[in-house]
């Protein structure tokens, strides 16, 4: 499902010069597999997910999703591939505050391959326990409920690959456990692969397949190129 080879990304440092953030020689994720990556803040794990999702353009290497190399596509095609194959759950949820819960999910679907399916969107929101909050705006929901909207939006398009970036970072321990269980369950039901990054040991402990991102990432941090 996901095959990363020699993926690199560097940024211009404030004091000038380039600083390498990501250098991942090899990473693979099979279809339907669920994997967690441990990484501290500033380790480059979000950048790694952004590169896989095509939100950032890679400097080099490959990030093949279902056989298509995201890293070497022009921006418009990266947008298309992201909408077609990926679901992304952000740490801060990134819900559209001016849109209702249902509209948030419908908008996510509208860019995907199947287009808007109102019944499926409502079904997904029902699945995460928000059938009675369709017309609410995100600000009217609790943090846990907002997280569930983000999960429903990421999974409504039936993506092949779900990327979750600290998805429970803003939740308390109980809500965190529930949210994680929900993400994993829905991914399993949809046959989607899940790549989750976190620095929370409680979250990571629930994954059989857990890797340390610092071992995966060979970028020489803080060293100007």
């Amino acid at each position: 499902m996901l095959n990363v080879v020699d993926l690199t990304k560097s940024f211009t440092a404030p004091e000038g010069g380039r600083v390498e953030i990501v250098r991942v020689p090899r990473f693979e994720l099979a279809a339907g597999e669920q994997r967690a990556l441990r990484g501290e803040s500033g380790s480059g794990k979000t950048t790694f997910l952004h590169l896989i999702a095509g939100i950032l353009a890679a400097d080099g290497g490959r990030a093949e999703i279902d056989g298509v190399d995201m890293a070497n596509l022009p921006e418009a095609k990266r947008d298309r591939l992201r909408a077609d194959k990926l679901g992304y759950i952000f740490q801060t949820f990134n819900l559209l505050q001016g849109y209702t819960v249902l509209e948030n999910v419908l908008l996510g679907m509208s860019f995907g391959p199947r287009g808007v399916d109102r019944a499926h969107a409502i079904e997904m929101l029902g699945r995460v326990g928000l059938a009675h909050r369709l017309g609410h705006f995100p600000r009217q929901l609790s943090t846990g409920q907002q997280q569930r909207v983000a999960v429903a939006r990421a999974l409504a398009n039936r993506p092949k690959l779900v990327l979750a970036d600290e998805p429970t970072g803003n939740l308390d321990r109980v809500s965190s456990k529930e949210a994680l269980a929900l993400i994993r369950e829905v991914c399993r039901e949809n046959g989607a692969a899940l790549l989750l990054v976190s620095h929370d040991d409680g979250v990571l402990a629930q994954f059989e397949g857990m890797q340390d991102f610092s071992r995966l990432n060979e970028a020489r941090k803080g060293v100007a190129l």
Partner: protein, 401 residues
């Protein structure tokens, strides 16, 4: 669903700035349409009003003054003609109808015009339309102390059949200048939407022999309104009276003189139009500024949409379409401003001149102006749209860890 939803939600989220911006566009659009339509309608109305008569004969002087005085009951008469001059032109073989008028008095600011009953019985004030009385009564008899009031003057003065009044000397109302003669209203004219509506008509001898008027001018007329048997006769009379003579002036053709007047004051139209264009540009600029200023607040939403798979050109299109929507909303509201303004202007023109503008008339400017305004706003939206197009998704969404 996607694009309309994004536009709708964005407009809702920025409702106040949307309303203020749309309001300024409405003002610009309404002003532009009003300036254009008042100019077009006024010219058409003044030219068509002057089609009842082909020419106006008067004392030596300005042709425009003769037309304004004789047809539109504005301005003072440039001087008098002898009754013999009237008789002479009336009997000319090229002249079909000659109606003498005499002015110099008013009834509380509304002009009193002396004429002969044939004006009401023989003349069509517009093609196929003759003067008629509303609610009974009769046209005044020659040499009587009777009066027929135009509809607008009767309404404003509260005149009805059987009422009596004393005329006031001069064209401007001064209550100290009341004449002793008492006239009785014998009829109210049905509305004609011409300057005749704002006149109180009396027999010409009534004006000529009014107490206080110069007895030596007791048979003089202010002007003669002329219908010709053939259009070519006008050039012959023009040659005879204007070029070979030096005592009288023939204002011919009346329509051309009015068109010339509008040509002379066209600079005023251009100034008004320039002001309206500037307002339109400012309005389009306000769309640009309004959306551009809100871009910082929108960037996160735009980045989220991009992260969900929205393409750059779609984001660009959404912002341009939003600007066009604000323009279209403003243009639609502009019609309200247009109708209010043109109704007000038409009422002022009617009160001052008796000429009625057709405020419901259609014109190409009524759809071209809103469309251009919308397009201008869309163009203004292209600048913030480009900024939206360039929104860096990753940097905007979250701090990199």
């Amino acid at each position: 669903m996607t694009l309309p939803l994004i536009i709708y939600r964005s407009l809702r989220q920025h409702a106040l700035s949307t309303l203020i911006t749309a309001g300024s566009i409405a003002l610009a659009c309404g002003l532009l349409m009003t300036v254009w339509m008042v100019k077009t309608q006024a010219q058409a109305a003044f030219v068509s009003t002057s089609t009842a008569f082909d020419a106006v004969l008067g004392a030596r002087g300005s042709k425009l003054q003769l037309v304004l005085n004789g047809i539109f009951h504005l301005e003072a008469s440039p001087g008098n003609l002898a009754w013999a001059d009237y008789e002479s032109i009336r009997k000319h073989p090229a002249v079909k109808t000659a109606i003498p008028i005499a002015v110099g008095d008013n009834l509380r600011g509304y002009r009193i015009v002396g004429t002969i009953p044939e004006l009401f019985t023989n003349v069509e004030y517009a093609s196929g339309k003759k003067y008629a009385l509303s609610g009974g009564g009769k046209i005044f008899s020659d040499a009587s102390r009777e009066a027929v009031a135009g509809s607008f003057a009767a309404e404003r003065l509260g005149l009805k059949v059987g009422d009596t009044f004393n005329p006031f000397h001069g064209l401007a109302f001064d209550e100290k200048n009341q004449h002793a003669e008492i006239f009785t209203v014998t009829g109210i004219l049905a509305p004609t939407n011409t300057p005749a509506d704002k006149v109180v008509w009396i027999p010409i001898k009534g004006v000529q022999t009014m107490s206080g008027h110069d007895p030596k001018a007791a048979t003089d007329v202010s002007a003669v309104l002329i219908q010709l048997r053939a259009a070519t006769a006008g050039f012959m009379l023009d040659m005879m009276i204007n070029k070979q003579g030096n005592r009288m002036t023939l204002a011919y053709p009346v329509g051309a003189i009015m068109t010339e007047l509008f040509g002379k004051i066209s600079w005023f139209d251009r100034v008004l139009a320039l002001v309206a264009y500037l307002v339109a540009l400012v309005a389009a600029g306000s769309v640009l500024a309004s959306i551009y200023n809100s871009m910082s607040a929108r960037q996160r939403d735009l980045a989220i949409l991009r992260a969900l798979g929205a393409r750059r050109r779609m984001i660009f299109g959404a912002v341009v379409a939003e600007a066009a929507c604000i323009g279209a909303l403003g243009a639609a509201a502009g019609f309200g401003i247009y109708f209010a303004l043109i109704a007000g202007v038409a009422e002022v023109i009617r009160a001052q001149t008796g000429v009625v503008l057709n405020v419901t008339a259609g014109h190409v400017v009524l759809w071209v102006c809103p469309l251009l305004m919308t397009a201008l706003c869309a163009l203004g939206g292209a600048v913030p749209a480009f900024k939206a197009y360039r929104t860096p998704v990753a940097e905007t969404l979250a701090p990199v860890s």
